[in-house]
Subunit: 330 residues, 2 copies
Amino acid sequence: MSKKFQVVGIGNSIVDVLAHCEDAFLTDNGIDKGIMQLIDTARASELYGKMGPAMEISGGSAANTIAGLAAMGASTAYVGKVKADQLGDIFAHDIQAQGAVYEVPRAPADATDETGRCMVLVTPDAERSMNTYLGVSEHLGPEDIDTGMMADADWIYLEGYRFDGEESHAAFAKAIKACKDAGGKVSLTLSDPFCVERHRGAFRAMIRDNVDLLFCNEHEMAAMYEMPTLTACLNAAASEVDIVACTIGENGAMIIRDGKTEHAPATQATVVDVTGAGDMFAAGFLHGLVNGKDTLTCGRMGCVAAGEIISHIGARPEADLKELFRAEGL
Amino acid sequence: MSKKFQVVGIGNSIVDVLAHCEDAFLTDNGIDKGIMQLIDTARASELYGKMGPAMEISGGSAANTIAGLAAMGASTAYVGKVKADQLGDIFAHDIQAQGAVYEVPRAPADATDETGRCMVLVTPDAERSMNTYLGVSEHLGPEDIDTGMMADADWIYLEGYRFDGEESHAAFAKAIKACKDAGGKVSLTLSDPFCVERHRGAFRAMIRDNVDLLFCNEHEMAAMYEMPTLTACLNAAASEVDIVACTIGENGAMIIRDGKTEHAPATQATVVDVTGAGDMFAAGFLHGLVNGKDTLTCGRMGCVAAGEIISHIGARPEADLKELFRAEGL
């Protein structure tokens, strides 16, 4: 009997606050380009006060992936924490309106922390530099994991970023056990090289013991396996998991399974904002997988979805992804 | 001695909640296409629950105009009410970050009404249909008008929409008096044909007695003067004010001054979302005016600015408007 959910994602619930800026703004404000930095409320307030007019679009890495999957027609659910505030309303509305189940209780209106947000600064080269105030998102704990939901998932999708927080380690462990005990499979995204630095040991153990499908990029692979070449890192990862899906920027993605390496080329796109490229690659890849496609097709679907997201501002899909897959014969 | 502000705008402080939809969604939900409807909290909640994933961008008609003027380099201030809530933070940040002075005290966090928002539904033909929950924006009253600021303005810019509310009539009267007593001039936008229907008498009196520059479109002119042709309506308006600037959709704008009619052609643009076209026309026109340009040049600047805003989603400028003016030799 088929399960209720094809993919259940767990991650940080974030509303992106996106603004364009020049490179000088990054250097003047000590922002490292192209990566995600965690910031506290004081820094969030300082940066927001300095940055230009912005727009708000729901984000969060795993949430973007789940929204993408829902837009592709997959049956999905999302697990992550927001507060009962206006940004929490926005986050919940957007993921539910996309078709994903999202039922995690909100932190009450009198909680100290607010709904998380990420100030995303997009430079003229379309690179994004992220400054994340996690807020209540950080407090996702095992009590937020519905084991019935995890057991009813073909795949769970874990966001590496959410590993910043002890309660979340326990939450991940609870989700993995419930999913695996019921015959489900586990995918993980490494999220970010600095995130990997912070959690290398814990990630390694999780990958070795529980992960079936690993999403990553070149920088994350280098941080994780600390080997001189991408090939060496990928081979090390492939010895521990069934499938490694590694994005390689404008060159597309490498997929390693059963000792075989495949290459999915990137689609042509006018790059406006790379925010969410990795998230949407994972969405396309998982969509292929839960529909029984071969791994190369999965990789191509990932690249098509990533190509859509980088062609506009924001990390949630705007075009009809199903139509884009059809146009590519996928 | 030159004044501190070239233009001070007064209007509804709104955060736009923008989503794409098919025409069927409008008919299924009783939304009249292309206009602005005021809605209460229950209707706002119902509609939001039904609409698709959205993005949030600061809006408000006069606020868009002031943001546009600030982006063009004008010295501006904005007057309108938000609450001390997250959407209020967003609204205040965006207009201040654009360079406008915005100092109106916020309604306290325990106020019943929230910061106003407008659910903007963009159909495939790029038309926008607006559903506005005014929230605290409705309660702008004379106590919010800083007469010193009004006296220090070359122009004040009044948003017709804000005429929905008795306190605001008094606020407008107070602002007009302070501005005119100090030798300033008054511009008004009619905002919307249904807004004109609601306030025809009061608008007529204000136009006749106090308005120097009237912004409008064809539909608003017809609603205001109830004459069979646009020409007749424009002539009626021109007999009461110094300058009439009337947008005529994809054909650009007509400007009538001293019995002379001029035509400013629309600029070529791929139309993505018409939200804010009229607001940005007013910004470009006023920018020309405060810089001593002739009215035809003012109209052309308005059309260039409108062309920028309809080429992307949202009603706040993204491109460098000063550069666009230069490119057109303006």
